[in-house]
C-alpha cells in the first residue's frame, strides 16, 4: 500500500477521496492548498500526490510545475470537474502537459479512482496508459471535438 497526499481546497471532496483511499488500505495525508502540499512533502516524502486543479492562491498547474521542478520524477495525478474559465477536458489535458501522470474527472467513482491510483503506482502500466491517453486526447483536441 502507498503513502498518498490528497490536495484539494474543498474539504468535502477531500474527505470523500481520503475515505476511498483509506478504505483501500493506503496511508493518506491531506493538504488544503498547493502551498501546504509542498510543505508537507518537504517533511514527509510520498509515493503519490493527487491534486485538484482549480484552487485559490496556488492552482494545480503551478503546484505541478513547482513540485516537479523541485522533485523530478514525483508522481502526481490531477483531478478536476472543470471551471467556467476552463472546461474540464481542457484543464485535464493541460495538467497532463504540465506533467501529471494521470487524471481523475469529478465527480468520481471509487472504482475509477482506485484503478487510476493503481496504474500510477505501477510504472509499466502507467506509462502505456499515459501514452494511449495522450494520443487519444491529442487527436480529439486537434480535431476540434475535444
Amino acid at each position: 500500500m502507498a503513502h498518498i497526499l490528497v490536495v484539494d481546497d474543498d474539504d468535502l471532496s477531500r474527505l470523500y477521496l481520503v475515505a476511498i483511499l483509506r478504505n483501500a488500505g493506503h496511508t493518506v495525508q491531506e493538504a488544503e492548498s498547493g502551498q501546504k502540499c509542498l510543505e508537507q512533502i518537504d517533511l514527509n516524502a510520498v509515493d503519490l500526490t493527487i491534486t485538484d486543479i482549480f484552487m485559490p492562491v496556488m492552482d494545480g498547474f503551478e503546484l505541478l510545475a513547482t513540485l516537479l521542478k523541485a522533485r523530478p520524477g514525483s508522481k502526481v495525478i490531477a483531478m478536476s470537474g472543470g471551471g467556467l474559465t476552463m472546461r474540464k477536458k481542457l484543464a485535464l489535458h493541460v495538467a497532463k502537459k504540465f506533467g501529471a501522470i494521470d487524471l481523475i474527472s469529478k465527480p468520481f467513482q471509487s472504482s475509477g479512482v482506485l484503478d487510476t491510483v493503481t496504474q500510477a503506482l505501477c510504472p509499466a502500466k502507467s506509462f502505456i496508459a499515459c501514452q494511449n491517453w495522450l494520443c487519444r486526447q491529442d487527436a480529439l483536441f486537434f480535431s476540434g471535438t475535444g
Binding site: 474543498d10 474539504d11 468535502l12 475515505a19 478504505n23 467556467l84 468520481f108 471509487s110
Partner: protein
C-alpha cells in the same frame, strides 16, 4: 434510475435554469447506494459531513452576496456544485452552477432569489439524506 420524488421547489422562470431541470431527479439514490457500497463503515461519517456542507454552503454564498463579492460567490458556488454532483443532488447542482455563472459574469442581480432556492433545496436534501441513512 432510482431517485427520490421530485421536490416542491419552484424555480423562477426568468432565471437561466436548464430547460430539463424540472424533469431531472432531485436526488439520485443509485449514487448514494454506490457510495455506501464503496465506503462501507465510513459512509455515514462522510454523509454527515456532506449534510452539514449542503446547509452551510448556501449560507456562505448568501453572505458573499450580501457583501457584494462576486469572486467569493463564484468560488463557493463552484464548490457547492461539485459536492452536489458528487452525491447525486442534480437540481441543487444546477442551481449552484447558475449562481456560479452569474457571479462569474459579475452579475449578482437575481442571485438573492437563486440562493433562496439553494437554501430551501439544501434543507430538503438534508432531510432526504437523513431519511436514506435511517431507512433499513
Amino acid at each position: 434510475m432510482n431517485t427520490f420524488a421530485k421536490n416542491d421547489l419552484h424555480p423562477d422562470r426568468d432565471m437561466e435554469l436548464s430547460q430539463d431541470a424540472d424533469n431531472e431527479p432531485f436526488l439520485v439514490l443509485d449514487k448514494l447506494a454506490e457510495m455506501k457500497q464503496e465506503l462501507g463503515p465510513s459512509f455515514l461519517n462522510v454523509i454527515q459531513h456532506f449534510q452539514s456542507g449542503i446547509l452551510l454552503r448556501p449560507e456562505k454564498i448568501n453572505q458573499a452576496i450580501q457583501a457584494n463579492d462576486p469572486e467569493r460567490v463564484e468560488r463557493e458556488s463552484h464548490s457547492l456544485k461539485s459536492v452536489c454532483r458528487q452525491i447525486g443532488l442534480v437540481q441543487m447542482g444546477h442551481l449552484a452552477a447558475n449562481l456560479e455563472s452569474l457571479a462569474h459574469a459579475g452579475e449578482l442581480r437575481g442571485a438573492g432569489l437563486l440562493v433562496g432556492q439553494l437554501i430551501q433545496a439544501g434543507q430538503l436534501a438534508h432531510s432526504q439524506l437523513t431519511e436514506y441513512c435511517t431507512s433499513p
